[in-house]
């Protein structure tokens, strides 16, 4: 039998089951025993070198951060997959248009039950109730830009807040967030103090140099067409989404 392959030597070292022939060969072959000893020594050296890389990590703080992220997502997402920022606008818009056109057409017909239904109801909007809360409209700011760089800075963003980033056609940058958030802008820079999410940031697709900073930390930047992430985004097929830790 020829000498054992390097693969078999490593499998022997690492306790992976190998052919009985290989074990038998090892008993008889000094060359392969030496190779195994070298592999074992190499293993010790590598483990030692890798240990040198280790640092101290604060487990208690990390535990709290993970618990906060979980709580934030449960609040933000309602336990299910979050819809994309674009889909609800389109879907709701189409549904509303269809409803208006259908209702209008039916109510125009004399004797229509829809006409009777409408005439029997007050035209005043219903008062908000616990079962039907008033919809919360996001607030925001839009700013026209001619060229880069474009910088968006979000401050005081609460943990667990969802931030959706969209690259959109046109030449304006926009930020939307929960009511109570405040916004200001200067040349190529938009700043916002965020009280809650979900937050949507729109960058113009035509501008090559953009960046998004959240609570003092760069989450995303774009330069020469390449997106760079300073913070891991959610994998969302419809966009880029961050959850603030």
């Amino acid at each position: 039998m020829s000498h054992l392959t390097e693969r078999t030597i490593l499998e022997l070292r690492d306790g992976v089951p190998v052919d009985a022939d290989a074990s038998a060969h090892l008993d008889e072959c000094a060359v392969c025993r030496t190779a195994l000893e070298e592999a074992e020594a190499r293993s010790v050296d590598i483990a030692s070198a890798l240990t040198d890389l280790d640092e101290g990590f604060d487990v208690a703080s990390a535990r709290e951060a993970v618990a906060a992220r979980l709580a934030g997502r449960a609040t933000t997402a309602g336990g299910g997959r979050r819809p994309s920022a674009r889909a609800p606008f389109w879907t709701l818009g189409r549904a509303a248009t269809f409803l208006l056109l259908t209702t209008g057409a039916l109510s125009a017909l004399p004797g229509s039950p829809v006409r009777d239904f409408i005439s029997s109801r007050s035209l005043d909007p219903p008062a908000p109730s616990a079962l039907m809360p008033a919809p919360i409209e996001p607030v925001g700011m839009r700013m026209s830009v001619q060229d880069g760089p474009v910088i968006v800075e979000l401050d005081q963003v609460p943990p667990g807040t969802s931030i959706e980033v969209l690259l959109v056609p046109g030449s304006s940058v926009a930020v939307r967030a929960a009511p109570g958030s405040s916004f200001s802008s200067a040349q190529g820079r938009m700043q916002a103090t965020i009280v809650g999410g979900p937050v949507t940031v729109e960058f113009p697709d035509a501008i090559d140099e953009v960046s998004l900073t959240v609570n003092g930390r760069t989450y995303l930047s774009r330069k020469d067409g390449n997106l760079l992430f300073g913070f891991a985004p959610e994998q969302d097929p419809e966009g880029i989404r961050f959850i603030v830790p």
Partner: protein, 163 residues
């Protein structure tokens, strides 16, 4: 699955692995925490070994995705202050810093897959679990791992020699 128990058992090895893999402390903490969040969000159940394998695989993919969009540019030789509870002499601290830089340089010189395999092996995973994470046949792991080890030790040795 108890949150505190699972967290305390799994977080430290996970964040160390992420740190070794990414070379960046912030990235390691972000990714390890994200993997833990997903573990509980998805309600992953199973043996302790199974949960750990799931976490490491998720973290590996998160780091891979992050660096893929950055054009696979690993941050090189990021020097972080040594955190230790033992008093250390200046010479020992210097030696430790140099050793760390050498190990980092050796890891960064490796192809991504080799690096992932090496770090998973030295985090205690079986060949089958490594194969599952890096998408290679289990029978190829020994060969690929041998190559990765030789590459790592050769760069490590070269980095230790005077220029």
């Amino acid at each position: 699955m108890d949150f505190n128990t699972t967290f305390d058992e799994e977080y430290l090895p996970l964040v160390r692995y992420c740190h070794r893999l990414s070379g960046d402390r912030d990235t390691a903490e972000d990714v390890a925490q994200e993997a833990m969040v997903r573990l509980f969000e998805h309600g992953v159940e199973g043996s302790s070994a199974g949960v750990r394998a799931w976490l490491f695989k998720t973290a590996t993919h998160l780091i891979r995705d992050r660096y893929r969009v950055e054009g696979n540019r690993m941050r090189l030789l990021r020097e972080n202050p040594v955190m230790t509870t033992d008093p250390e002499t200046p010479d020992a601290a210097l030696e430790r810093t140099e050793n760390r830089a050498r190990a980092r340089r050796a890891l960064d010189a490796m192809p991504a897959r080799d690096r992932e395999m090496l770090l998973m092996r030295y985090s205690g995973f079986s060949y089958r679990e490594i194969a599952d994470t890096v998408d290679v046949a289990a029978t190829s792991v020994g060969t690929l791992l041998a190559r990765a080890e030789h590459r790592f030790t050769s760069v490590l040795a070269a980095a230790g020699e005077p220029a």
